[in-house]
Amino acid sequence: MSQYEAVIGLEVHVELKTNTKIFCNSSTEFGAEPNHHICPVCLGLPGVLPVVNKKVVEYAIKAGLALNCKIASFSKFDRKNYYYPDLPKNYQISQYDLPIAEHGYLDINVGGKEKRIGITRVHMEEDAGKLIHQGTIATTPFSLVDYNRTGVPLIEIVSEPDMRSAEEAIAYLEKLKAIIQYTGVSDCKMQEGSLRCDANISVRPAGQQELGTKTELKNMNSFKALHKALAYEIERQIEVLEDGGKITQETRTWDEARGVTLTMRSKEEAHDYRYFPDPDLVPLVISEEWVKEIQYAIPELPDQRKERFVRELGLPDYDAEVLTSAKELADFYEQCVKIYNNPKVISNWIMGDMLKMMNAGGLEIKDVRVKPEQLAKLLQLIDNGTISGKIAKNVFEEMFNSGMDPEIIVREKGLVQISDEGLIEKVVRQVVEANPKSVDDYKNGKKQALGFLVGQVMKLTKGKANPGMVNKMLSDMLDN
């Protein structure tokens, strides 16, 4: 079998976090009662006119700048015409040939290798409403429409076909999400639909310059789904070609339950959107001063923060990369460092225990009940000998689950470390007397027997004995 190379480009929709919709004053709040955030304008009633929300343009420019794009000095809105019941005007106001931002890029890191992914364009558009079916769309006797989301501002970010694997695509989307979150223009919550991703994908024999026929993949509702869908589609396309077949240009949908991609519509069924400039909106003329003002207000972005963590805190590249991958995580980390000035130790705790528990629980940093001060306090308890590092792990787990203060947990559970020399000596003698064989082994040169004896002491003290003291006392005793 010859080697194939995948070619992937992503189209990402991001909901902007403005208070009001893109062309009217209705609220954008998520999760309201159906049809509570509507007005004649977003309902597209006869006679209404759109007026663009300046904040949307500002946010789109901000996102464009954060993605290293050139901001258009002249931009306009166009109508994308198609019929669907969740689209009350039966056209979507979008941008066609003069988007707000173009020619950007972002850098990803996969397996230690840096790669630059091109960003073709960023454009603004309005979101559609939501259809509610009874059961499935195929069998429902009627469908209801919720227009709350109609007119919520979106930006669509289109990448160049620069990704060569599902892993690169995931890295791109993660980086994109991080950058957008850092700018504060969107929450990028995939489960709430404020971040949505479609993929264009083709394969070609390695070394071939010419692109293969692509398919468009839709309906990936999580990073995991995107990864699986891409992996599946790459395999599927290779198989078709290996069997001497041809790839059909089409739109395919990811079937999460079955783990396959299925034909949604063929090229022939593709819409002719009949784009034309929206005559209800005047073109946008964007001044350099405004762009500068917005540029000035962009906070530190993931790459800059990572560099700073390496430079100022002495973190390894990998740690810095992981910790800056989400703004809230990096904020958490930095707050800890402010209180407890040992950057690497904190990094170890966050990247080890905390991220492991978060992943296991499917939690995000904002769901975590441990506060930075509490993690710092835990580390101070280790330093001042109140608890051992091993006990601290248990305490942290308790903190993670309950949100309680480490001191209270330690007190309530009686976990304070035993550092009383007399007490430890008593237990050590007891262990030495009870395990003559191990003592002999040690004296005969089997140094690993010491570990067993230390373990026995810890067991008897329920892990509370100061492990350093136990070690020293035992070896002193046996060596004499």
């Binding site: 009633l45 009350p88 429409v145």
Partner: protein, 485 residues
Amino acid sequence: MQLHYLTAHQLHDMLVNGEISSEEITLSVFNRIEQVDERIRAFITLTKDQALQQAKKVDLARLAGDKLPPLAGIPVAVKDNICTKGVRTTCASKILYQFIPPYNATVIERLNREQMVIIGKTNLDEFAMGSSCENSAFFPTSNPWDEKRVPGGSSGGSAAAVASGETVLALGSDTGGSIRLPASFCGVVGMKPTYGAVSRYGLVAYASSLDQIGPFARDVTDCALLLNTICGHDPLDSTSAPFDKTDYRTLLDGDIKGMKIGVPREMMGEGIDAGIREVIERAIDVLSGLGAYIEETTLPHTEYALPVYYLIAPAEASSNLARYDGVAYGYRSEKARDVIDMYMKSRSEGFGPEVKRRIMLGTYALSAGYYDAYYNKALKVRTLIKKDFDQAFKKYDLLLGPVAPCTAFKRGEKIDDPMQMYLVDVCTLSINLAGIPAISVPAGLSGNLPVGLHLMGKPFGEEDILRVAYAFEQNTDHHLKFPSL
């Protein structure tokens, strides 16, 4: 007392002097409607109760000593494609037959602020697409000068209502001549303001880049007063222009000495009825006599206005009218089996033939592979047409010509021949494409039917137009001739 042919400014004086009440004026108008509307059929909906309530409010305000705005208590009719909160707005279409807007158009808010009395909603060609008012899904409107003839369109109801004394003032909309043509056919004053001078918010869109709301009146002074009321910047309309409002009435002094007026030869040549040309030539003599300097000029791209219009307007319409799908409001076919079927049946049954024709034309013009050849090309030629006017206005304050190539034609005469119907707008279309203001002023009769004089001005040159129109009117008596009903 016969009030129905008095003008708004005459009625205002009587109101202020306590010679008459707004209630009496309003009742007289409804009385007139009762007498003649059976024959004219200008109205789709009458709002008598609200009108009388509003009239009484104005009367009370006057009695309380409030200073009344110039048009307070004056009856006004509104074309039925302008949204009125709580009052059915049909666009003379089956598809919106039951549609009651939950909001007011900006112009309605302005009429309310002026304390005007809205008496009802007038007939039109469905969605303002037509030149004869015969495309109304409900009934055709008759020309008060000859009931067998059309009033012109699409704002035929508003023009006929003003001409027949069923209202004092009216609002229409003009996309390619829809105010000026019926004004010409019915012998009243009708004006299309500069694009952006009057808010389009609440005007049901036909072709967004061309649509403009404007006044109908029985004389130029009234026209200026209604324009004063409705124009001005509106933050709800992105295409509304921020400009300094002037009181147009104060500019009506009859002095046009030294004004330079061009007569585009393309608007006076072939295809214009001889009788029309005669009336316009007489008007030229009147204006020359008043000291205006008038000469022939040229707008070389005039012949392209019609094809350009019939690409751009339908293209925009095909998209603007996509929203009438039976989903959330408006007509929904009973027979539909699924969503696609609902779209197709609701629209097939809900729209009339002319609307369908334009939706299809526009859809075609915007389709992949045809966009550049049709829509895009049309945009480029539109720019050339605009440049013709820019060029002409470097030399002239105003342009002049006929509004239409003919007088009101008989009902049924052109309805089966769209091309003949479209040609009626040959003099008016280019004004909308250029976005400039223009007026139709009664200039006399040809074969006992009214002929309108077309005065076209620079962008936001409404004052020049009104000034010349007023001077012409004050030196002729055409505006004092009424149809015998």
